[in-house]
């Protein structure tokens, strides 16, 4: 039963929450003796004030879209996949193998090939915990945490002992051949006569990420599989009644989730660094959890939450470049944003609801019988996935 109109729920609540987070961040900046207004201006200008800034913002956002979607899909089946980090690492390995050892004639084919490998490797890395959960009852939260560590060790081994070009100090793979270079936004937009910064790393993976949002949306709300995933997530006894196999749903969902996380590698590994480095994922898998939670597990929400985090990353980088503010400030700001928009959102929602109710009361007394229709599929549950 909705008290508030949808626009208030979707726009007003997050906006006010964001403002509160910004306010508190400003206080923190003040406390360490810096000028908050200058800092915010710098962040906004640096992240959104130029195609260059956008280029980086969107690059980070692309990573977060993939990992956010990965977590979101699993949430719909009530599976809490904390393993996005490890799955994305493995995805990177898949991309590197595809890019280095197959002679691709054209980047487009390479993108498809590397994407398949990335998805496959990520999927495998998620499928094992999925299988252990479905068949052995091992809690997917623990196993995915463990698999993050195992992935790190595996990657370390591969980069230090196997894929590192001989004599190179850098625990990284060789550079990918020119043929697999993915077009950047600059190269994509130039033919259209749009000037986009040449140096920003945003690349065609952004479009893949956007497409992934649409595909995930279709999957979850338009296909039978998505219907079954959601049903299973909401009620396991009911799913059983309907003949939905728990093992199948758990496995399929984890595989899709892992594939999405793995796909991130086409952005950071293939699109940006064009070689596989240690720690290529840089915690994007964990940011994905926050992104999915904040986006309420809906692709559109994930998209915007990823943008927000992309903005924070790039704005934070600018702050670090031009001021002596320690980089940890950005971490604090991220924390406040997550806290206010994600966990304390009811602090804003409750008074707002009361406000809206005050304007509604004079209407005819309602019974459950004439209550508001529920919002569309976007209101899917995201809370508590365990």
């Amino acid at each position: 039963m909705d008290v508030m109109p949808k626009w208030a729920e979707v726009i007003l609540v997050p906006l006010i929450s964001l403002l509160l987070a910004a306010l508190l961040s400003a206080l923190v900046i003040l406390a360490i003796g810096e000028d908050p207004i200058a800092a915010v201006t710098l962040m906004v200008k640096g992240a959104l004030g130029s195609t260059y800034g956008w280029g980086y913002t969107l690059y980070y956002a692309t990573n977060f879209i993939f990992t956010g979607l990965a977590v979101a899909v699993a949430f719909h089946a009530r599976l809490f996949n904390i393993g996005g980090e490890g799955q994305a690492m493995l995805g990177g390995l898949g991309v590197a193998l595809a890019a280095l050892y197959i002679p691709w004639p054209h980047w487009s084919l390479a993108l498809i090939g590397a994407g398949v490998m990335a998805g496959l490797f990520g999927a495998v890395w998620a499928a094992i915990p999925g299988w252990l959960q479905a068949k052995r009852g091992s809690h997917v939260v623990i196993t995915t945490i463990m698999f993050n560590f195992i992935a790190a060790a595996l990657l370390n081994y591969v980069l230090v002992n196997v894929m590192r070009p001989p004599g190179s100090m850098d625990p990284a793979s060789a550079r990918f051949p020119e043929a697999v270079h993915l077009p950047t936004l600059h190269e994509l937009l130039a033919p259209l006569g749009i000037a986009f910064s040449k140096s920003a790393p945003t690349n065609i993976s952004l479009l893949v990420a956007a497409a992934a949002c649409i595909v995930v949306w279709l999957l979850i709300w338009r296909t039978r599989l998505g219907y079954e995933i959601r049903a299973y997530g909401h009620s396991q006894p009911a799913a059983k009644y309907a003949g939905i196999s728990p093992v199948r749903i758990t496995m399929v969902t984890m595989i899709i989730s892992g594939a999405l996380a793995g796909l991130m590698a086409i952005n950071n590994v293939m699109g940006e660094s064009e070689r596989l480095v240690l720690n290529a994922t840089e915690g994007a898998g964990f940011i994905g959890i926050a992104v999915a939670l904040m986006g309420r597990s809906h692709p559109v929400g994930v998209f915007f939450a990823a943008l927000l985090f992309g903005f924070l990353y790039q704005g934070g980088a600018e702050l670090a470049l031009w001021t002596s503010i320690p980089r940890e400030l950005i971490v604090v700001i991220q924390a406040l944003v997550i806290l206010f928009t994600g966990a304390l959102d009811n602090m804003v929602r409750m008074p707002l609801e009361r406000l809206f109710l005050m304007f509604r009361r004079p209407g005819p007394p309602a019974n459950s019988a004439d209550s508001e229709p529920k919002p569309g599929p976007c209101s899917a549950q995201s809370e508590s996935a365990e």
């Binding site: 091992s138 081994y157 939670l293 940890e328």
Partner: protein, 322 residues
């Protein structure tokens, strides 16, 4: 592997298990009351910093400990506010707390000490020193039990003994007191507690506060007992391992002890590749060694531990009216 090596290994196990155990019991209180807590890591980190910072400033480790606990409690209060009062998402709140602690500790450390997110090294009374139990030296030469007593049982900081005592205490509180009964009930069915005339909110806050207290001790142990100062990110994922141990332990105090000791043992084994080599006969490659604790966990989990059923009302805010 000879006896003394075994003792040394177990000694290391105890040290490594202690912060895990404290954090695990913290999680146990919170989750038994129906509040999931993935912010153990952050609380531990904050406490590690503040206890080292205050110990360094005042020269007293006890003031440090109090400050560590206070900081951890403050983060607990944030978690409580978000997940109990405002019925927010407990997982998000935990994630936020982890970020908050990671950033804030370094920010404040830099502001206070200007040593790049560290505290100065702690000396003398600003540190928890190992305690030598009575007769430890005298007994050292007694065969078998001598080394056991002297090496393994004696010679830890007071917080280690506190952590181990916390296990029976936790068990006693949960299963033998009124408070424990109510706390367990509120994690299973808050409505039952509510209709029995007991405040759900009050109980959950109490549980979250106990979690804060225990995480505070865990953090202080890291920076003032195991180490002599704070280094950024020094909790190094132990909060998550504690969480894994909690699930592993099926939310039970004694199991929590065994689970964290097991994790501690894996960690200790990782530092002794020579022992592993002597036991299995082949040299274990470095990266495999690093992955070993995690691999073993997965294997044990899949092989020997059945399904863990969390407290039924866990993770759900208590909502009476929507």
């Amino acid at each position: 592997m000879d006896y003394i090596t075994l003792i040394q290994l177990l000694d290391s196990t105890v040290r490594l298990a202690t912060p895990l155990l404290l954090a695990c019991l913290a999680g146990l209180f919170s989750e038994r009351a129906g509040v999931f807590d993935i912010g153990l890591e952050g609380k531990m980190l904050a406490a590690a910093f503040f206890s080292a910072a205050l110990a360094s400033i005042t020269g007293s480790v006890w003031i440090g400990l109090a400050a560590g606990i206070a900081s951890s409690l403050a983060l607990s209060a944030v978690h409580g506010l978000a997940s109990i009062t405002f019925r927010g998402n407990q997982l998000i709140s935990g994630v936020a707390i982890n970020f908050l602690a990671a950033g804030m500790t370094v920010l404040i450390a830099q502001d206070w000490f200007a040593q790049g997110g560290r505290t100065p090294s702690l000396f003398g009374g600003a540190r928890f020193e190992p305690i030598t139990l009575p007769f430890a030296d005298a007994m050292a030469d007694v065969p078998i039990i001598g080394p056991l007593y002297e090496e393994l049982i004696s010679g830890h900081s007071i917080l280690v003994y506190a952590a181990f005592l916390a296990v029976p205490l936790t068990w006693w509180i949960l299963f033998r007191t009124r408070f424990g009964l109510r706390l367990r009930a509120v994690g299973e069915n808050p409505a039952a507690v509510d209709t029995a005339g007991v405040s759900v909110v009050g109980l959950r806050y109490a549980a979250v506060a106990i979690a804060g207290l225990l995480c505070g001790v865990a953090g202080a142990y890291l920076s003032t007992a195991l180490q002599a100062g704070f280094v950024k990110d020094m909790s190094a994922g132990r909060g998550f391992i504690a969480l894994a141990a909690l699930i592993f332990a099926k939310w039970r105090p004694w199991y929590a002890l065994w689970a964290t000791l097991l994790f501690g043992l894996f960690g200790a084994l990782e530092t002794r590749p020579d022992v592993i080599q002597s036991v299995i006969g082949i040299k274990v490659q470095g990266q495999i060694l690093s992955a070993l604790p995690y691999l073993m966990t997965v294997v044990i989990l899949a092989g020997f531990v059945g399904k863990a059923i969390p407290p039924r009302a866990g993770g759900e805010p208590y909502v009476k009216e929507r």
